[in-house]
Symmetry: C2
Subunit: 246 residues, 2 copies
Amino acid sequence: MQRRKIRLTVQYDGYDYHGWQIQPGKRTIQGELSEAISNLVGHKITVRAASRTDASVSALGQVAVFEVNSPIPIENFAGAINDRLPPEIVVTFAEPADKEFNVMGGVTSKLYRYTICTAPDRPVLNIRHCWHIPKKLDVPAMDKAAKLLIGTHDFKSFAAAKDKRESSVRTIFSCGVTAESQSVYIDVEGDGFLYNMVRNIVGTLVEVGIGRMAPERITDILDAKDRTAAGPIAPPQGLCLMWVKY
Amino acid sequence: MQRRKIRLTVQYDGYDYHGWQIQPGKRTIQGELSEAISNLVGHKITVRAASRTDASVSALGQVAVFEVNSPIPIENFAGAINDRLPPEIVVTFAEPADKEFNVMGGVTSKLYRYTICTAPDRPVLNIRHCWHIPKKLDVPAMDKAAKLLIGTHDFKSFAAAKDKRESSVRTIFSCGVTAESQSVYIDVEGDGFLYNMVRNIVGTLVEVGIGRMAPERITDILDAKDRTAAGPIAPPQGLCLMWVKY
């Protein structure tokens, strides 16, 4: 039987999961997905993803691949995998991928959305997918600060200390803050992100939103190349991977 | 110190809870709320509610009361209780109640909303609060059937067998089915509901929506006064108590 590479689009509510990456004894998205597919195809496979999302982070457009020997027709894959997945994870599309398709290295751009809820009371039905800040945020100031992040910069000030990748230079293609009713959305599109980078950007933009930091400070923070220059990290559950482009 | 009666408006995501009512060794809304308030006021209290919602049922407008000896000013109660509650439960309002206020017996009307999601893929970020039926539902037919439930009827056909209340006559003031994007909402307002009545109504309306039952059958089902005449029960997580009137 010919070995095939299959590409999946995956959505998940990551709140109760220890992130994407398999960890012994913990519930992870990669673990659940790999197990479901292995059970379906009858041999052990491991899925790999575009983004190793953190614990409690969700996705509406994660991309994942695996290789398989099974003769199952491509159009039956998504449904058959979904029958074997817990309700918080779903494969929305399965398609054949080229042998050369590099799910992580081939990414040209990804969009993360971070959701803040500014309602006075805890939004109990949405508390797993937002950061609740019961205050009026200065959205135009946050958006002004966000725009200063666009471009190719050294984002060391926004990376977790434990990120050990050689270069901390990344390109942000777009970064904007919008408000709708009692929600504030922070959308960041880039070619790649350092560990905790989006959540550190969000925490810093919130400092601007509550008036504790001027929007112009972003430039100084970038120049500092020092994590302590930026604001505190935002909690994970507001973060969602919206899509990945190749 | 004078004993006071305090009325609360409460919201909760009931998905991970064993319903409102305290049960030994199980996580319940009444249990969490009673414990939080007892810790706050320094003596043991038990809250009582307008509706004993079932396991996995949520609420945006539950009403609850308790009596207390504490001198805490009324305007500080909601915030202080919320500080002691898990994130899935919130008190949105606290107000003084008359001694005669009867939280269950005094109810004149309650509205339950049931949410169905008809999107082709599982809505992972909302799966805890809807019934996923990936089909086109005939909403006008469902609404026609819903309208036949309005009025004072014997709802025995829609009551769980284990409901042992003497009379199964209730009054439904309004019942309607509406669609918005990929959601279908079933709103039922009545003076009271038998055990599982709303979920049995929803299950029956879905039979109409998928074309397995004509809307006119509702009248026969009411006349039958027999649970087996109606459709199957809908799952609990789509149900939400929206408000209670006195």
